[in-house]
């Protein structure tokens, strides 16, 4: 039961029920504004029938040549609206935009400890492309999985052949 629509600035005044969840970070305004200014089509919000924000996705398109891809920067769903398939619809949307932009693949980073999310992404067709060592700073630092799913343009699925060795964050472009 969802209305997907472009995220607007005013939504930041209403997203507390999503963002107060400990797994969702609230960033400085510039971060959101930069995405809104550069990739407005990649920033979507899911609204409930009663007008509450259920979740949102923000992303971007970047890369040169065969590295031209869609990237999921943040995906979050309010605790009240979980297990309704919302994350999947938001991901679908982002993949759809990436297809339209003729991207080769879509990628995302996730904490290796976040089993729930990793499983969900696997169910959506993502594979662990590589491990990025100590990508998340904290105490201690935590590794990230760089997960990928090929778009139709990557006919031979070249972009989703997993790397055998982990990489350092500075080697990730």
């Amino acid at each position: 039961m969802t209305t997907l629509r472009p995220f607007t600035c005013d939504d930041m005044y209403k997203f507390n029920n999503v963002n107060l969840d400990p797994l969702t970070e609230t960033y400085g305004l510039s971060f959101y504004m930069q995405y809104l200014a550069h990739w407005p089509e990649y920033f979507q919000v899911a609204e409930s029938p009663s007008g509450e924000i259920m979740g949102y996705i923000m992303g971007k398109a970047e890369g040169i040549g065969e590295n031209w891809h869609g990237h999921v920067t943040a995906l979050t769903v309010s605790p009240d609206f979980r297990r309704l398939g919302l994350a999947a619809s938001l991901m679908n949307f982002l993949e759809d935009v990436s297809e339209k932009k003729r991207a080769y693949f879509v990628d995302l980073f996730v904490r290796v400890s976040n089993k729930v999310a990793i499983n969900m992404y696997k169910n959506l067709g993502y594979i662990v492309y590589r491990t990025v060592l100590e990508y998340y700073s904290g105490d201690p630092d935590e590794d990230a999985y760089d997960m990928r799913k090929a778009c139709s343009r990557d006919v031979n699925q070249k972009s989703v052949i997993p790397l055998t060795h982990p990489v350092r964050p500075e080697d990730v472009d």
Partner: protein, 934 residues
């Protein structure tokens, strides 16, 4: 900070220059201005003409507060008309930090004049106009840029600048002018079109913006259907068309498109609403009902009767589940259909059967999902109160848990929680006898414990406990009970419930929000603050959630916490207002024209936040309260420049869960109480701002010489006039505090507490006293001194009566604390005014050769006022000392012993502790204040 680019036009070898300048940038970045300045001097010694070094020196000097030296360098440098990017950027940054955005425009105007073909400099000029919203200059610059470099984006910048002139510039108040400008924008764009130059998606979007403003919806549909539409890569064309078909009231097409979408995406709520709405628009007038309509299952023909719509919905339900999730869309669509039928007073029972059954059916299907409550919430208005009570008991029965039983599965528990929440929404907890309410609270607590032990162990610390909602509702019910019995003890128990919940689910933000509110209800500011810190609210949340804690702190007397909160909040607002112009320039850079007006609106919303202005004024007031010397006073920026008409209420009240029946109709932001509170808060702030403006003109009087002094005297007199009339108006309006019976509503406005303290009369007496001194009229002065003394007596009485009340209850104690803080504010700031008066009667420094001037006559009177202040402040301290020793006694209801609350820390003690911290801080202020007068 950006480094010199390799393409800079400096005369020296670039790499050498870059190497020399690098240390300056590094010192600036690390905030070491002194070192940066030394480095600048060093570089300038070697290369005295290096412009970038001069610009960086200016920036450094500005950051060191040496504004005059900074200005001198900038002025000279501007005359040289630099053209290298690094120098210009450093100068622009300097102007930005000085908040002199216009000067950036002037700078680039000169530079561009000198380098008419430099694309980059032209772009900087354009962006400098964007920052100050000079749309006309934007347009001219963009056109000039396009002429020298004919690229589409520049042309579009010009078109967008014309649109903004129409919507926000000249066209804003002149409909004719607006139309003219929009037509101009359209013509400009058509030219691009005719030249076959339109290519990018953003350009088509721009075209649609223009046509939309001109209400040429047919033309937009033509675009969407035609070759230009295919350039809209990321747009879903059928859905985009929907918006304009609705505006054109083409209901048949709307209906058919919606059906087409819904067959594949049965969960699209926005589309369901439009589908049902369009169906109602299509219902033929009664006289012309024809029986010949085609059958309802044809996807290409519109549905024009409720029957057909119902059939369509049922068809989708029967087609079953799509992807494993049971989809709520079509089920909820029936409620929407029903709601619209009832609105139009049409019969719905023939079509949809018994309404209560519809709710029960939905609950059976989705009751195990948390969203079931919010889904059904707004449709509960379809039921009258009897039916609501009926539904409420049937839902509870349907869950199948006896009054002594417990849920057998997690699923059943969730259904139980859902039924309880719906039942509260139906009014099931209203007007319950207190014995029932207590029994309910006990039951909820036991359910919480059972749920926690059975389903809540071994969760991640980031998870919310599945049985947490029981405890949250118990806290709500305890709040009800506290109001019913007019006793704060139940709120102490509620806080114990919440604290023990948080031991099990340390990240439950609902519990934290509730606890912050309840601590503030009892006046436990320190505990509220700890809780607020654990919420980790930041950035925009400082505005949207500012009411939760920051706005309450000034009533607690916790001055240290106030200082920190004010600082964080103000830093957020001022830095974001500065940065937000950057986002606008990005939108131009990336051609996101659809976002430009949105960004501008957002920027204004942020800058006109009532919370922002309140904190701004609170901070200055606090500075005055803490002010220890006239030098400090003179260094404060006291002036307030608030446009009262455009203030915004940015509070997110919906963040609080509410299962109060009022929530059925609308979210709390739309309740009349929220509107009343907003107006009361504005009134409060207006009255409060007089303290500052009064103070500012008093300072002006003291600092000015005889010639101009009279002007400031007149200003102060006028101001006191205005103050009086607003004060009298407010007393007359007799504004009632907003109701407290609903938990998500904020606490009542500070206006009411402010009116109980004699702000107006005491300050007026002091300002009149100051005016009397400057008038040199001894009779008047004697009279005014007496008034000051009388007013101070009254002030002390207010404090005494307020604290003498037996505070056997935290409700009373909190209110008393708020008034006490107000009284302390009044007397502390009075001391500052008195010190100013002292300055006015200081003998003037005798100049050489002139004979010694006589002492101004007011000295003895100022002495009298000053002595009186000292006496009263001493009394204040005595009263407060007595007060801190009289505390409410803990007499928690034995009935709640069985709640089994395992809270090691005593909530009661924590709140008392908070009061004692406040009291100490207040007394400290008073004691140090005495020094100001000696």
């Amino acid at each position: 900070m950006s480094r010199p680019q390799t393409n800079s036009h400096v005369h020296q070898d670039n790499s050498v220059v870059e190497r020399r300048l690098r240390p300056i940038y590094d010192w600036l970045d690390s905030g070491n201005n002194k070192k940066a300045l030394q480095e600048c001097e060093k570089v300038l010694k070697k290369t005295p003409t290096l412009q970038c070094a001069k610009a960086l020196k200016a920036l450094t000097l500005h950051r060191m507060g040496k504004q005059n030296e900074c200005n001198a360098i900038l002025e000279l440098l501007t005359k040289e008309i630099p053209s290298d990017d690094a120098t210009l950027q450093a100068m622009a940054l300097c102007y930005r930090e000085m908040q002199e955005l216009e000067k950036i425009c002037r700078l680039y105007e000169l530079v561009v004049k000198n380098n008419p073909n430099n694309e980059e400099l032209h772009t900087h000029l354009f962006m400098s106009y964007v920052r100050i919203s000079d749309f006309k200059s934007q347009q001219q610059t963009a056109m000039a840029l396009y002429k020298s470099k004919p690229k589409n984006p520049y042309y579009c910048w010009a078109v967008m600048s014309v649109i903004l002139q129409a919507t926000r510039g000249e066209g804003l108040k002149d409909a004719q002018k607006q139309k003219l400008l929009l037509c101009l924008a359209e013509r400009m764009f058509t030219k691009l079109l005719n030249d076959n130059k339109v290519d990018a998606e953003q350009e088509v979007q721009l075209y649609i913006i223009i046509l939309n403003l001109l209400e040429k919806y047919e033309d937009i549909l033509d675009i969407l259907n035609g070759p230009l539409g295919s350039k809209l890569q990321c747009t879903n064309i059928p859905q985009a068309k929907l918006e304009y078909l609705i505006k054109l009231k083409k209901w048949s097409e709307v209906n058919v498109i919606c059906k087409g979408i819904l067959i594949y995406s049965v969960d699209r709520w926005d589309i369901w609403k439009e589908y049902i709405n369009s169906m109602f628009r299509l219902i033929p007038a009664e006289s012309s009902i024809s029986v010949t309509g085609s059958s309802g299952d044809d996807a290409d023909s519109p549905d024009d009767t409720p029957e057909k719509a119902h059939e369509f919905i049922c068809g989708i339900v029967e087609n079953g589940t799509e992807n494993g999730y049971l989809l709520r869309g079509p089920y909820l669509a029936r409620f929407e259909l029903c709601s619209r039928l009832q609105e139009k007073q049409m019969n719905y029972s023939d079509l949809l059967g018994d309404l209560t059954e519809l709710f029960i059916e939905y609950f059976r299907k989705f009751g195990h999902k948390q969203c079931c409550v919010t889904d059904l919430r707004s449709y509960l208005k379809l039921l009258d109160s009897d039916k609501k009570i009926d539904l409420s008991s049937r839902l509870i029965k349907d869950v199948g848990i006896s009054s002594t039983g417990v849920p057998q599965t997690e699923n059943q528990m969730q259904r139980h929680i859902c039924a309880l929440q719906l039942s509260r929404l139906c009014g099931g907890h209203r007007n319950l006898p207190t014995e029932h309410l207590k029994a309910l609270i006990t039951a909820l607590s036991l359910h919480y414990q059972h749920g926690y032990q059975t389903y809540g162990m071994n969760l991640l610390p980031t998870d919310l406990g599945p049985s947490d909602p029981y405890a949250l509702m118990a806290a709500h019910c305890l709040y009800d009970l506290a109001l019913a019995e007019n006793s704060s003890n139940c709120i102490v128990v509620a806080l114990m419930v919440l604290e023990s919940l948080l031991k099990n689910s340390p990240n439950n933000f609902h519990a934290k929000l509730l606890a912050i509110k309840l601590y503030h209800v009892l006046g436990g500011g320190v505990s509220a603050h700890e809780m607020y810190n654990s919420l980790d609210a930041k950035h925009l949340q400082l505005d949207s959630l500012g009411y939760v804690h920051c706005a309450r702190l000034p009533t607690t007397g916790l001055f240290t916490l106030c200082t920190n909160m004010f600082e964080t909040t103000l830093k957020f607002f001022s830095s974001n207002y500065k940065d937000s112009s950057d986002h606008l320039t990005f939108s131009y850079k990336f051609g996101s024209f659809t976002k430009i007006e949105e960004f501008m609106d957002f920027r204004e919303r942020l800058n006109n936040s009532l919370h922002y202005k309140t904190v701004l004024i609170d901070k200055v007031i606090l500075n005055l309260v803490e002010c220890m010397s006239l030098e400090t006073l003179y260094s404060l920026s006291i002036s307030t420049d608030i446009n009262w008409e455009i203030l915004r209420d940015n509070h997110d009240l919906s963040v609080y869960n509410s299962w109060d029946p009022e929530r059925i109709e609308a979210p709390p932001e739309d309740w009349s109480d929220a509107g009343d509170l907003f107006l009361q808060n504005i009134r409060f702030l207006k009255l409060r701002s007089f303290v500052l403006t009064g103070m500012a003109s008093a300072v002006n009087i003291v600092k000015s010489l005889d010639g101009v002094r009279q002007e400031h005297v007149q200003t102060l007199k006028k101001l006191l006039e205005d103050w009086r009339s607003l004060y009298e108006q407010t007393v007359q309006d007799n504004l009632v505090p907003i109701k407290q019976s609903i938990l998500p509503l904020p606490l009542p406005s500070r206006l009411h507490g402010a009116l109980l303290a004699p702000y107006y009369s005491v300050f007026t007496s002091f300002f009149e006293f100051l005016l009397a001194i400057s008038s040199d009229d001894s009779n008047l002065l004697d009279k005014r001194t007496k008034i000051v003394e009388d007013e101070l007596d009254k002030l002390t009485n207010v404090l005494r009566e307020n604290t003498l009340k037996k505070s056997n209850d935290f409700f009373d104690k909190r209110k008393s604390m708020e008034i006490a803080v107000n009284c302390v504010e009044i007397i502390s700031i009075s001391c500052v005014i008195c010190a100013l008066c002292g300055e006015l009667v200081k003998p003037l420094q005798a100049k050489k050769g002139k004979k010694k001037q006589p002492d101004p006559m007011g000295k003895e009177y100022v002495q009298r006022a000053s002595e009186k202040l000292k006496t009263e402040m001493g009394r204040f301290c005595d009263i407060l000392q007595d007060w801190v020793e009289s505390n409410p006694e803990e007499e928690l209801d034995r009935k709640f012993d069985n709640l089994n609350l395992a809270v090691s820390e005593n909530v009661f003690e924590k709140i008392l502790q908070s009061y004692s911290v406040s009291n100490k801080e207040i007394q400290l202020i008073l004691k140090t204040k005495i020094k100001l007068l000696t």
